[in-house]
């Protein structure tokens, strides 16, 4: 959606026709794609009981921090999956804000549909529930626009991106998004905490090694589409140190942040918390690896 607008901004010949029906049509298709993405990515969370409860149990400052942090995150994501060529601050912000808006509206609609939003609900609860769900939904809306879309112009865009290559910082940022996405799905559930209680430290050790192995394998070994290949003269431990280990540390930090945000770390001792971070780090690592392939 926003991409098409951005393109018409950059191209003077198309600017004159900005308000004509084909462009409006494209904009609406873009909105619909965003809505589709928000549904696809956020529905599991909107149907999770712990997420509803967090709407009122969550610490308000932590919720505020999460909501504020989402904005630069969406901005960065818009920049990455938008078009670096015609990219400007204004367009990026517009992209991010529209995605956030789609997230809020779709969350409100779905939560109402599930009978969770009624007239006798407290205002704080109402705002908390919708705001919390809007975070994954808005990420979904942005991803939906890029991943669900298929048009001829998107293909040549890809070629441009490839020649430009992917910066190291961008690579790490995408891993953070991927980890955050899977962590938002899993961190609120009680199972994460329960699993960490069930596990012995030995289980945790194996989980750590498995996370790293899966993360590395996902990107370099199993040749998924969008996977990365090592040039002939690069030993595989190069990529392990330069990409996989930083990615895993990012996944762990995102896990830590999610658990803290949802108040899962408040009463427990350091060792118990570390175990929970390791448990959540597994989906985080897979999310991070997948993000490098997909985005």
């Amino acid at each position: 959606m926003i991409k098409d607008l951005a393109r018409s901004d950059a191209d003077p010949s198309r600017r004159s026709s900005e308000h004509s029906s084909p462009d409006l049509n494209e904009f609406l298709i873009g909105l619909a794609r965003g809505l589709g993405g928000a549904l696809l990515f956020a529905l599991p969370m909107q149907m999770t009981m712990e997420m509803w409860e967090l709407g009122f149990t969550m610490d308000r400052w932590r919720l505020l921090l999460l909501l504020l942090a989402t904005l630069p995150l969406l901005f960065g994501l818009a920049r990455r999956i938008g078009f670096e060529e015609t990219f400007s601050w204004r367009e990026g912000m517009r992209d991010a804000v529209i995605a956030y808006g789609i997230g809020i509206v779709s969350s409100a609609v779905l939560l109402s549909l599930f009978g969770l939003i009624t007239s006798d609900i407290a205002r704080e609860d109402l705002v908390g529930k919708i705001a919390l769900q809007a975070v994954p939904a808005s990420i979904g809306a942005l991803l939906g626009r890029s991943q669900l879309g298929s048009g001829p112009d998107e293909e040549d865009e890809d070629e441009q991106q490839e020649t430009e290559g992917t910066g190291y910082g961008t690579e790490l940022f995408m891993m953070a998004i991927g980890a955050l996405f899977l962590n938002l799905n899993t961190a609120p559930t009680e199972e994460m905490i329960l699993i960490s209680y069930l596990m012995t430290p030995w289980h945790a050790l194996v989980t750590i090694l498995l996370s790293i192995a899966v993360m590395h394998g996902f990107v370099y070994a199993v040749s998924f589409k969008g996977g990365h290949e090592l040039s002939q003269d690069v030993p595989s431990w190069h990529a392990l140190i330069r990409f996989t280990l930083p990615g895993y540390v990012i996944a762990l930090l995102i896990s830590l942040y999610c658990l803290w945000t949802f108040g899962r770390l408040d009463d427990a001792g350091a060792m118990t918390n570390l175990m929970a971070v390791v448990v959540l780090g597994l989906p985080g690592a897979i999310g991070a690896a997948a993000a490098r392939l997909i985005l």
Partner: protein, 135 residues
Amino acid sequence: MSGQKTKKTVEAQGHWIEWATGLISGLLVIAMIGIVALDALTASDAAPDLKVTIINQRPTSGGTQVSFIVSNLGKRSAAGVPVTGLLSREGRVVERREVIFDYVPAQSQEKGALIFSENPDGAQLELHTSGYRDP
């Protein structure tokens, strides 16, 4: 987008910042593995070790609220922990209150409160955990 993508290639010579980030990350991961391994070696036959401490007592509209901390000093988490409060006067139990904690994780503490309708002043108040199960 992904459908059109060809493979990215990792260059042989990374920027020094990539190596620095990698090195720091590697050290962090190794440190974490070390801490967990140390814990694995020392906590092989661990059991929960539960203790209840009264921290506060205040009158509320529903009775006297006795706040407490239940702490688990052991290296293993406990689930379904009931905390029972007995209020006795002259050796006779006059009130019994109980609250159940879903989890008391290893080396952690949880807060809670019991509400007694009688004023515990001048009476004997005893709080204890009556058991636990494995998570």
